[in-house]
């Protein structure tokens, strides 16, 4: 490894191969349209000739003498009896035929015009796009050559690849002759670089044969050989080429020769691209279209996207994930089985040689597996050679030892939609067979534990480790670069726990308080504040840095007209003074927003990490002590509440019926921009929407403040008022395409309604709650709405995936430079100063570069409201 010179590729040139180069590159002229003889040995002069490389073990390459593993393969060539057009250049040929003289080969523009255009050639050697199009469109129209005076006949291209001049067919050999006539100086104006691409080279006289290593044949279990698609195609070309040669030398009539010539053209065309429109694709015996050169390159599974833009790696592992709140957010629990398989290289120096010897001596788990000598040879450490290796070991050697705690790895979950989809973790080897991760890092990975799998990559060089540790470590990613607020945060039970712990009246005796604190790893005991007991707020304060001062309103805030600050009757005003929680309840706003945010910014990532670790453990421990569970009974509401909701439904029904009556009797007034029918539908939807909201409010009112569902939705742990409504009060209107359900039968949604019936039940209003249970019709309508949401989700992922790919592709070369500008890869300025003020969105406070005052943190608008249907239990 060491002392290796690294070569850097500066640039790659593109051009068309000329026949001489093809012959020079070639190691052998291929003539025989066959591959192996009866003994399974490559035929000399055939398509598997040993000069073109080896794919069979035991044989040697006749060009370089290498074996299967060492010979990279070499090109061969086929001499075509008659020239054929390269299908990829058909457009260029067509344009050249039209824009140059049919007799003298000059560009069909007067000399002075050519001169003016020449002056416009830029340093890249090309005309600006517009002028180039001008040249072509002008030259196309010229009917008499301004240079030799010859009259120009019209050239026609009969798709896909036959040219006619007037009535006469232009054979590829004629075209080639014409291309040869075009002088270099004129080609420049037509967008062709004559040094790299003389147009006659686009008409092939000799065809390169790719190395056998690029088209290996495979041996089936039956012992039968199966050739690569390219080899098949080359066999076809060789066969026709031979037949054409035989016919020509036998003096066959021109018609037959042309037919064979066309056939050769067909084979060469499909060899390059088997999806040319207007040409039937060449097929395999089984009827499957052949995958030829163009097909190998293009598309998602093509060479470019699959093999070149995407690389495969070693030193990686994948398994199911499961949660573990007891490890740190920057750790990942790795199953022992995986840790034993993966290795980390350790370079031996005089300082760590004894440490390395320990690994080599070991026969059990954290042991060294391989030894790499300074010359790069690697040796497996076995019981046989262990002593020998210990003797041999010296600085400069490298050992590969098994993965152990605190090794640096990258952890990733697909789809990797943003940079926090891949973060650096420290290994924690644990029993079990799943990767364990801290629940707080679920959000950036968008992971849950319903069967998700994740990948782990073990870093192999010191540079990579250092970079990952500084740039990608979990605690450095707590703030999202998208919106400058925490993305790594405790949610669900942790938030509920925050409320349960810090709400008024929570207190523990010494024994329990000790238990809870020790779970969070806090070994210092505060002095009791409520008699001999410890309040929840006191315990929570133990998580806070002792110098922290903060005041804000929690999610429970009811926006009273006059805020009484820390004397808030709902305990919604959070006040932290010198690291002590004086008043207020800890909820989503604290744990996911301003408190975490402030700790991160004021005390740094380490402190924030510790806060997340400890708060998770503390809050889960305290919740377990207090107990927090949900049962179906919790969704049941009292008789009175049910009566109220029934009344709401009855009112809504009445109102809807009135509107329908008005509509039927023509009394309804049309809203501008809508039809009468739409107006009615809108009004009905509004009434029913309001009915559901009212019912929800009633239910929420009747449910006690100690109801766990209510607690969860209020403090922002899980669920919204909408969920409460649907469970306890009513499910509400079901919609398909944003409208009440209209489809199904002629003028009715289900068979047992009357035709044209527009009442609430007939159009998908579900007045039952999930608790009560849905009637059969309601159930069916609900399923209709649900199905639509599901389908919608599917297309949405596909569409947004493509948009993301395009966005990333368009913007990936845009980099902030040293001078403060933002430029693309050609150093063209996109922005003079990034974001107009040069501030990093990740360091911003929300949208602001600098925060001049402490504002209440506003959480991302309740997404639950929008995406209620998306929370299905999907198994990956």
């Amino acid at each position: 490894m060491k002392g290796e010179t690294t070569k850097k590729i500066d640039s790659i040139e593109f051009g068309i191969l000329d026949p001489d180069t093809i012959r020079k590159m070639s190691q052998i002229r291929v003539v025989i349209p066959d591959t192996y003889d009866e003994d399974g040995y490559p035929i000399e002069g055939g398509l598997m000739d040993l000069h073109m490389g080896v794919i069979d073990p035991g044989l040697r390459c006749k060009t370089c003498g290498g074996r299967m593993a060492t010979c990279p393969g070499h090109f061969g060539h086929i001499e075509l009896v008659r020239p054929v057009i390269h299908i990829g250049y058909i457009k260029m040929i067509y344009s050249l035929l039209k824009t140059t003289c049919r007799s003298c080969g000059r560009l069909l523009l007067p000399t002075d015009q050519i001169q003016t255009y020449k002056k416009l050639i830029t340093e890249s050697g090309e005309l600006p796009e517009e002028q180039e199009l001008d040249v072509i469109s002008q030259a196309k129209k010229v009917s008499k050559c301004p240079h030799c005076g010859k009259k120009q006949e019209k050239i026609k291209l009969i798709k896909p690849m036959t040219f006619y001049e007037g009535e006469r067919r232009l054979l590829p050999s004629d075209i080639r002759r014409r291309m040869e006539l075009i002088p270099d100086k004129d080609l420049r104006l037509l967008g062709i670089d004559p040094k790299k691409a003389r147009p006659e080279w686009a008409i092939l006289t000799v065809l390169p044969v790719p190395p056998v290593t690029a088209r290996p044949s495979i041996t089936l279990e039956t012992g039968e050989r199966s050739e690569d698609d390219l080899t098949h195609k080359l066999v076809d070309i060789l066969r026709i080429n031979q037949r054409l040669r035989d016919n020509i030398s036998a003096g066959a009539p021109q018609l037959i020769i042309e037919d064979l010539w066309d056939l050769l053209q067909y084979h060469v065309t499909t060899y390059f691209n088997n999806e040319v429109s207007g040409i039937p694709p060449a097929r395999h015996r089984s009827g499957r279209p052949l995958k030829t050169l163009a097909q190998r390159l293009k598309g998602k599974e093509g060479r470019f996207r699959y093999n070149l833009s995407g690389k495969r790696v070693n030193f990686s592992a994948r398994t199911v994930i499961s949660p573990d709140p007891n490890i740190s957010i920057n750790e990942v629990g790795v199953p022992r089985e995986i840790a034993e398989e993966l290795t980390v290289p350790e370079e031996i120096t005089e300082w760590n040689i004894n440490h390395a010897k320990d690994y080599i001596k070991r026969t059990e788990y954290p042991r060294a597996i391989y030894l790499i000598r300074p010359d790069g040879r690697r040796k497996k450490i076995t019981d046989m050679n262990r002593e020998e290796i210990l003797q041999e070991l010296a600085p400069g050697y490298v050992i590969e030892r098994q993965l152990k705690d605190d090794d640096i790895v990258l952890f990733n979950r697909q789809p990797s939609l943003h940079r926090v989809s891949m973060m650096c973790h420290l290994v924690k080897v644990l029993p079990g067979r799943t990767f364990r991760l801290h629940p707080a890092v679920c959000k950036p990975y968008n992971a849950d534990f319903d069967g998700d799998e994740m990948n782990m990559h073990v870093l192999q060089t010191e540079e990579a480790k250092a970079e990952a540790l500084t740039l990608m470590l979990v605690q450095n990613q707590i703030i999202s670069p998208r919106y400058g607020a925490p993305i790594i945060k405790g949610d669900e039970d942790i938030v509920s726990g925050g409320y349960l712990l810090t709400k008024k009246g929570t207190a523990f005796d010494k024994r329990i308080a000790e238990k809870i604190l020790i779970k969070a790893g806090i070994k210092k005991m505060p002095s009791p504040d409520i008699g001999n007991n410890y309040s929840g707020k006191l315990l929570f304060s133990m998580l806070l840095p002792s110098t922290l001062n903060l005041e804000y309103r929690s999610l429970l805030c009811r926006d009273c007209e006059k805020c009484v600050g820390s004397k808030c009757p709902y305990d919604a005003y959070v006040k932290i003074k010198r690291g002590k929680l004086v008043s207020g309840v800890i909820d989503k706003v604290s744990l996911q927003g301003i408190l975490l945010d402030t700790i991160f910014r004021q005390y740094g990532p380490e402190e924030a990490k510790e806060f997340l670790n400890k708060s998770t453990r503390l809050l889960l421990a305290s919740t377990m002590h207090q107990g927090f569970s949900v049962s179906v009974e919790d969704t049941r509401i009292s008789k009175e509440a049910q009566q109220e909701i029934k009344a709401i439904i009855a009112d809504a029904r009445q109102e809807v019926n009135r509107i329908i009556k008005d509509y039927n009797e023509g009394r309804l007034k049309k809203l501008p921009g809508k039809t009468l029918r739409e107006t009615m539908e809108d009004m009905i939807m509004a009434i029913l929407g309001k009915a559901r909201k009212d019912a929800g409010d009633v239910a929420a009112n009747y449910l006690s403040d100690y109801n766990p569902i209510i607690i969860m939705s209020r403090v922002g742990a899980r669920g919204s008022l909408l969920n409460v409504t649907q469970m306890s009060a009513m499910v509400g209107q079901q919609a398909v395409r944003g409208k009440r359900i209209m489809r199904g039968y002629r003028n009715k949604s289900l068979p047992y309604f009357k035709e044209g019936e527009m009442g609430i039940e007939a159009r998908g209003f579900v007045s039952s709650s999930f608790m009560e249970g849905l009637t059969p019709t309601e159930y069916f309508f609900h399923a209709m709405g649900g199905r639509e949401a599901l389908v919608d989700k599917g297309i949405r992922t596909a569409k947004s995936g493509y948009m993301q790919r395009r966005l990333v592709n368009a913007l990936q070369d845009i980099v902030a430079r040293k001078d403060g500008t933002v430029r693309d890869s050609d150093d063209v300025i996109v922005q003079y100063k990034y974001g107009e003020d040069g501030t990093d969105p990740m360091k911003c406070h929300g949208d602001y570069a600098v925060r001049l005052e402490t504002k209440t943190y506003v959480e991302e608008k309740d997404r639950d409201e929008i995406n209620i249907e998306d929370e299905g239990d999907d198994y990956d």
Binding site: E13, G88, K311, A810, D837, P841, E860, K861
Partner: protein
Amino acid sequence: MKVMITTNATLFKKYRDKLPESIVEELEEKTKGMNAKDIKRIAEQVLAEYIANQIQPGEAVGTIAAQSIGEPGTQMTMRTFHYAGVAELAVPQGLPRLIEIVDLRRKPSMPIMEIHLEPELRADKERVIEFAEKIEDVSLTEFATIEENFEDKEINVILKEDVLVEHGIKLEDAVRKLEKEVRRKAKKVEGNTIIFKPGFATLSSLRRFTERILETRLCGIKDIKKAVVLQEPDGSGWFIKTDGTNLKDILKLDGIDASRVISNDIREIYETLGVEAARNAIIKEAKEVLDTQGLKVNPRHVMLVADVMCYKGEPEPIGRQGISGSKSSVLARAAFEETVKHLHTASIRGHEDKLKGVTENIIVGQPVPVGTGRVKLGMKG
């Protein structure tokens, strides 16, 4: 008091060069009434934080921006949104609209304009309604019924007088306008019936003539299919929202507040107001989509996307017809879409890939010129 103001002004002067204007303004606003020492202390802190918050050189801001806009795409709704209740127009929102914006579609699927009027006009609802009616593009179909007399090769246009009155058009004006549009004199006018005898021999050309008559616009502005009047959110009066856009012609009208005429057609904005306006429109539209979906995205990301779409002097869509298709690197283009096409043209033109971008270097297996990949170490001497 006066003394203090002057000292503060000089105090802030120093920071004006170092801090963005908006921050200095906010600072001035918030420190009103404080003494100079405190202000200076605060200002120094602000400056220190501002400098600490600067983006690091080499940061792949493009990728971050793209991800920040793309990632929430999965969380967006697909449905077009109908505003509940009052007359409003259906606006494609969420993902479809966002795709439309980055695609820079020639016509948005729901072109909409917001036209605000001059203050004195704005307050009077009647006059705003009148204005709205005036700009609505109404073709003859709504004004008249047409009878084709194939026997005499004549066409009878029967105007509906009540509709004419509603739109405030005089009969003779309608006739004149119609004659001008179809470039034919009417044979005669009988009451509310206009008779044309275009003198075509074939029935099919007569038919085509009928179509022409039907398409004739009697009043309003082209493409403004509907104009509704809504209350200004600040309660200062009414404004007009239209279905269909025609920025160029609307801007020519009297009585509008030209600085507050908004179209959601970015291409149209570029054509009438130029590339800077188009860039701002992209930012505004994209931001609006994200905001209404309740997704938090730092505006810097949106701005970068807009700038990338516009920095070449003309708005380009994101994708193969735009930015990705016009990259200088052959490999990057080939790896995106239309692989074979890009390889062929590159070979004809003898292009060279300088390997300065991300994809190219990944393809050849070299470190990418981004972040730590940009930093080079040299040895002295």
